[in-house]
Symmetry: C2
Subunit: 454 residues, 2 copies
């Protein structure tokens, strides 16, 4: 990994401000497009634009692809439609589609009409039809395809023609006369079986493939399960449509686990540490406001039981304990469900088993905590605080049981309703459990006050 | 992806219990090792063992590799050392090392002495020396290596010999006469440049490579940045030691983001939804107990200010609001730092900039929430509750400011001390902020009671 030191950046900025084209070109020559994209984060738009214009078209396209969406939008806004089209021609169709999808409707049309390679433009238009979150939305059409009845020499000749424009080739896909996917040909077979008469004798049959409408999360699980570097995409009758590469899948795996983590931490939207102050506030304030409303609800609930605090003011001291415990238990339970669903280890059909197990875990944890708190209060509060001592422990037990089941039930139900279960983690669960915890605590206290009064 | 229906499983169990070898073999024939491994989760050990013995040795090795660590341990415990050694011979060295690392010291020695292929055994012993969390611990030694001075026909001849035992080949690595890595040869060059006189004329120079002691997290970031499917590993003077494949990296990316998520949700250890009740309790009870101690601390803090509640009992009603807000803000701030460090978007050298930005976000969020709560309390509590109205809003503002800075500062400091910053998220941050929030609230209330009394 390249490290750009402050000294290097200063040196580079000097070159840029002197408009020393030759020196700047030299600095860029050894860099990978991903490194150049990273460099842009430390430069202002004008500096980045200057360097960008020095690159050749193919490199420009690669750098464009590696940039953050925001940085890319800024750079694209400085370019005219014909230039953008030229760069898109250098990209694989899946990457081209990603960039075009970020543009507004008008620009899309214009750019597509400027692409000279009609076949590529047609492929892009076809790919744009697929839902972004499915295999179809992730696939590209660049791949080497051979017929199962060809001989190896015929096949190699064809491959030589097809491979010309491709950066990397990992698999060769084998189809029948009706374009249906029949197998894959590992490249090493080219070396080990140079003169076989029919490809189908050496190809690997039963290739792992996905239908175009498969959700991306399932595609990712398949990649991980079968240790793939690329996967073919087929239509409903098995015809080969395109291929998905592992780098795109890996990005999706990171994105989706980051998203789950963010939701669990009360961050809405895609917020990063390098976002601007206003973007950060926008992503964070909503949950804080919901938390505020929850806290105010709790003040209303507690207000209705003010009489209880008069009987034993010690009751007020354990409000944070009850609320905190409910929040912690609920967060754990919901995280286990969300993660299990995301990595495929929890089957939605086994929901009732999961709920039952949570009941068991809740019973165990709830009993232990309730007992410890009872002993603590029994010895520290002393006589005259029976209501509080019993109310706190009984409430803790009930809150742990409720939070375990509720934290499991809600994400499972959302998943069944095809809503992202991750929204039911973090602040949602802890705020809800906080409020219900207070209700439980106050109800049990009131009941015990009456009970001990008799 | 294969789906095993309850009907299919019943059908299979019948075959197993009838000991119908031929029928069972037929069922297994079309399955991928990963599917067989998945099947084992629905079978008991005896059933799984029966099916396992019907597989040929290479398939046994592949299935073994795909199993969960627990299931694998169970199956291995039923096998003798010579059998295990035989299966390990069928695995790539990186996979072999993973399995051997799970065994105890005694068994390791025995199994290694039973491996007939001395070169493989030697490679495994070498690989076992690397730290598990570094590039060296993840690499395997199976790769095709050619000399930069060879011609393409010479190279193809060598590759034919070397590729014989390999499942998949994505890159050919090019070294000089001293075994130093000089470049990579994309397989498509075999097709497009069949008769070049020296490999170095067509190889790609400046390959992205990592040193053996590079931490795995950095390796993963490089894979993502440069969109790689495999990466060569070198020693400190650039000699080629092995290669890392993308499937292993992808597993690590998922593992480490799952781990961060678990820590943020108060789950210690690697807990999954399909773990047994006791394992779940063990992973969850520790944080709940810490939360309990935190809650009891709060009760002590509140107990010392009981006089305040006598002056205005309404003060007690806002305890959940103050605690909850501090917890929510702290969770957000720490999650942003942990995630930024994990995906490389936050540079530890820019810590002070991050702290400054958090101060800004805290100022904005704190002011908005404090103002809204002030208006609410002003209109609902009415006269006689000035202490509470002011104490709640001033405290909320202070709590948000403190939680923003503290939630940022703690993980950044841990990272600097080379401790995993993820332990400072979730329950840790919310419990700490809860306690400090109470201290702030109680101090400000006491001060305001004195102020308004004059």
């Amino acid at each position: 990994m390249k490290e750009f030191t402050p000294e290097y950046l200063e040196h580079l900025r000097k070159i840029i401000h002197d408009r020393a084209d030759a020196a700047a070109r030299e600095e860029l020559a050894d860099l990978h497009p991903a490194d150049i994209a990273e460099l842009y984060q430390d430069l202002d738009l004008e500096e980045a634009e200057y360097l960008f214009k020095l690159l050749d078209e193919e490199m420009q396209a690669d750098v464009l692809m590696e940039l953050d969406e925001d940085d890319r939008a800024k750079l694209l806004s400085k370019m005219d439609v014909a230039d953008i089209a030229k760069q898109i021609e250098h990209l694989d169709t899946d990457d081209a589609v990603d960039i075009i999808q970020e543009l507004d409707e008008d620009d899309r049309e214009k750019i597509l009409s400027h692409i000279d390679d009609v076949e590529q433009a047609g492929d892009i238009i076809d790919l744009l039809k697929y839902d972004e979150d499915t295999a179809g939305g992730l696939m590209g059409t660049e791949m080497i395809v051979v017929n199962e009845n060809w001989s190896m020499p015929e096949c190699i000749k064809q491959m030589r023609m097809q491979a010309e424009d491709m950066d990397e080739v990992y698999y060769v896909y084998v189809v029948d006369n009706e374009d249906r996917l029949r197998g894959t040909l590992p490249l090493k077979k080219l070396i080990t079986h140079p003169s076989v008469s029919k490809i189908r004798h050496v190809m690997e049959t039963d290739p792992v493939a996905v239908k175009a409408d498969t959700p991306i999360d399932d595609v990712a699980l398949d990649f991980e399960k079968y240790d793939l570097v690329a996967m073919p995409v087929i239509d409903s009758i098995g015809r080969l449509l395109g291929r998905i590469t592992v780098d795109d899948v890996m990005d999706k795996v990171r994105d989706s686990s980051e998203r789950d983590y963010q939701l669990a931490s009360g961050l809405s939207g895609d917020v990063e540490s390098d976002d601007k102050l206003f973007a950060q506030t926008k992503a964070r304030l909503p949950w804080l406001l919901i938390g505020m409303v929850g806290g105010l609800c709790n003040s209303v609930i507690l207000g209705r039981f003010e009489g209880g605090f008069v009987v034993d003011p010690a009751l007020a001291l354990f409000i944070p304990l009850i609320g905190g415990t409910g929040g912690n238990v609920g967060t754990q339970s919901s995280a286990i469900v969300v993660q299990g669903l995301a990595n495929g280890s929890l089957d939605i059909k086994k929901s009732s088993r999961q709920l039952l197990k949570e009941l068991g875990v809740g019973l165990l944890n709830g009993s232990i905590i309730a007992l410890l708190v009872f002993l603590y209060n029994f010895f520290t509060l002393g006589a005259g605080h029976e209501v509080t001592t019993f109310a706190v422990s009984i409430s803790i037990f009930c809150v742990v049981m409720f939070a375990s089941v509720f934290g499991t039930f809600v994400p499972l139900t959302l998943e069944k309703l095809k809503i992202d279960p991750a929204i039911a983690t973090g602040p949602f669960i802890s705020i809800t459990n906080d409020i219900i915890g207070m209700l439980i605590y106050m109800s049990i206290s009131t009941w015990l006050i009456v009970f001990f009064a008799h």
